[in-house]
Amino acid sequence: MSDYISHDHEHDGIDRRGFLQCMAWAGTGLLWTVSGGVLASKTLAQIAKAGDSLPSATDLSFLQISDSHIGFSKEANKDVTETFRIALDRINAMPTPPAFLIHTGDITQLSKPEEFDTFDEVLKSCRTKDVFYVPGEHDVLNDGGKLYRERYLKSVEAKGSGWYSFNKNGVHFIGLVNVLDLQAGGLGQLGDDQLDWLEEDVKGLGADTPIVVFAHIPLWAVYPQWGWGTSDSERALGYLKRFGSVTVLNGHIHQVLQKVEGNVTFHTAMSTAFPQPAPGTAAAPGPMKVPAEKLHSMLGLTSVQYKQGKSALAVVDSNLS
């Protein structure tokens, strides 16, 4: 697809964008400051070490965690509670604590009350107390998300099956649900009610309002053969086209992938539980066993910074190794 190799000047089958896509894919913990291309990159560790001005000069810094899968205990990671705890330790060690966390779903493996209990208990160790949630399919397995909604949407004015929006420091955040009422043969789905709401929700906003959308399943076609996409995401993105800066944060695929399309940056986060294979590199998606010493390098979290006056948000992935 031309999106990946559009300028092959050196006839080596790779161009600048394609190369950068791969860099993002590798999940090397780089800071991406994106505005129609990649302007700068540095690791999260470098920022912390050098006392870089970025955190202090940042108007808003928040953190994305995803796919903690509490309750999973198979070969790919027999102690997902511990790796979740390590991720929280990393957050607590940040020189400037994030204003809040976003959890992009799959809190649990099997939607069991005791799994939610464990998650909540471990989360208490996090210095940052505000957390905004969207559900993953693992959180709504047997009850259509009733338990999830009771526990995690108390502090927001959620509509329908649990979608909502809020404003922080001039940034408009939209949490979407694309894991419920899925149709046979299809992908993730937002549904007409949610899309109608979204259209209304952003109608009154100025085009210079930075938008952050978060949802569990990617809102772009990462790999539909594995269900890694959302069937009606195009309509959602249509309502966001006029905005100068849109950042879309997703989970579900347990690896870092990034795509830039006009003013929209799509980004998927690592899991804190276990990695999954890169698209199409295995018979099926699912927990991927890697050598024990490699596991922590494939788990992680994502930090996002917004500075007023800059059109794009900086997205930084860092792993747990």
Partner: protein, 123 residues
């Protein structure tokens, strides 16, 4: 990071995206002859995000059992709500129904809706 690695990754991605437009494929499961004289086990294995066999032909009144061999939970849900749905099946968990009136019953996994299957019930 070597160029070769990048090329491989890009090639993989390109292949994936080429297939993208074919994602809504039709289910063309083969009709299998399941005629046996011994007590018959109608078992459907869930493995690698697929129902195997994808289409199974059974007699009315026979039992049909699914077993999940993935490390990922799956469900069995009738598209037309013609039979009770399973709860989420964890690894090695089973779910059994008794085939009802003759006809074609399409089902899917409500967690991973790409996964679809068909039960053909004969008299």
């Amino acid at each position: 990071m070597t160029t070769l690695t990048h090329k491989n990754k890009i090639t993989a991605l390109l292949c994936g995206i080429t297939l993208l437009n074919l994602s809504f494929f039709a289910i063309a499961g083969e009709m299998k002859d399941t005629d046996t004289t011994t007590a018959k086990q109608n078992r459907i294995e869930i493995k690698d995000f697929a129902f195997n066999p994808q289409t199974i032909t059974v007699k009315s009144g026979e039992k049909v059992t699914w077993i999940n061999r993935d490390e990922e939970p799956h469900t069995v849900v009738s598209v037309e709500k013609q039979f009770k749905k399973s709860s989420a099946l964890d690894t090695d968990q089973e779910f059994t129904i008794t085939a009802g009136a003759p006809g074609t019953y399409n089902y899917f996994c409500s967690v991973h809706p790409k996964m679809t299957g068909t039960i053909v019930v004969e008299k």
